[in-house]
């Protein structure tokens, strides 16, 4: 007899836990993009979702777990107005306990040598999500956001 569907967990929910390293992030992203609800998105929304998830997960790998590695959990749930995403890790807290502003340079009229090579990540996350929130809960970082 096939297992009964889990009534508590709608079939569209995506949940994945993996070790936060750049290579594992890449592999896990590929896995997630092939599953519902992400695989049902339009090409444009898929591109946006993959970009935001990559930025968020690479931040966990590179900053929260800067000198160690540890698990990260991703939960994605389809709601009436987009995909509600939740990312939890046990790494270091955000500096000052808040999200980085992700501001771009006021002007790009600077010498080539002064062009920024980083700091784009949070700007992309902020530009492409809504209802973005961060909390430190015990020894965990909890990041939540909605994808269009």
């Amino acid at each position: 007899m096939p297992p009964a569907p889990d009534q508590d967990s709608p079939p569209d929910d995506l949940h994945l836990t993996f070790l936060a390293t750049p290579v594992a992030v890449r592999d896990s992203l590929a896995q997630m993009m092939a599953l519902p609800p992400l695989c049902r998105l339009s090409a444009e929304s898929r591109g946006t979702a993959e970009l935001v998830l990559a930025e968020v997960l690479n931040n966990v790998a590179e900053h929260a777990y800067a000198d160690q590695s540890g698990p990260v959990s991703v939960t994605i749930r389809s709601t009436g107005h987009g995909l509600r995403c939740r990312v939890v890790d046990q790494g270091r807290a955000m500096p000052d306990g808040t999200l980085p502003p992700g501001r771009l340079l006021e002007s790009l009229e600077v010498p080539v040598t002064d062009l920024p090579e980083g700091g784009f990540g949070w700007h992309l996350i902020r530009s492409l999500t809504s209802e973005l929130s961060y909390a430190r809960v015990g020894d965990r970082n909890l990041l939540q956001f909605t994808l269009p």
Binding site: G47, L51, V112, S127
Partner: protein, 113 residues
């Protein structure tokens, strides 16, 4: 990370064969670009037509290549796919590069220049 280069008298085109430039491959991309463009002509066209995905690390690496080429070699881009184009546009990095619709167009510019 696989790059394919074609050298012409005044321009070298470098096509990224991989379908992504991300945090896992950004450093390797930068190193391969450094090798591919060493002592090359004044114009470098980076063809991104096959690249479906570019994250902020990949973008940072492309900016880094522009910086390491210095004032004597210009880095231009061609063939941005929709998600890649979005990353350049949202970060306003589209304003610091000459962007061509395709590598063919980019190279024909060289011929007429």
């Amino acid at each position: 990370m696989q790059l394919q280069t074609q050298t012409r008298p005044k321009v070298i085109s470098v096509t990224v064969i991989d379908d992504r430039i991300d945090a896992a491959t950004a450093i390797q991309f930068k190193e391969k670009m450094r090798e591919a463009t060493k002592n090359g002509p004044a114009r470098v066209v980076l063809d991104l037509a096959r690249v479906q995905f570019l994250d902020s690390s990949g973008l940072g690496a492309i900016v880094a290549v522009k910086k390491l080429l210095g004032p004597d070699q210009a880095l231009e881009l061609s063939g941005l796919t929709p998600t890649v184009e979005k990353v350049f546009r949202l970060t306003r990095m589209d304003s610091i590069f000459t962007i061509h619709p395709s590598v063919e167009v980019a190279v024909s510019h060289a011929a007429s220049a």
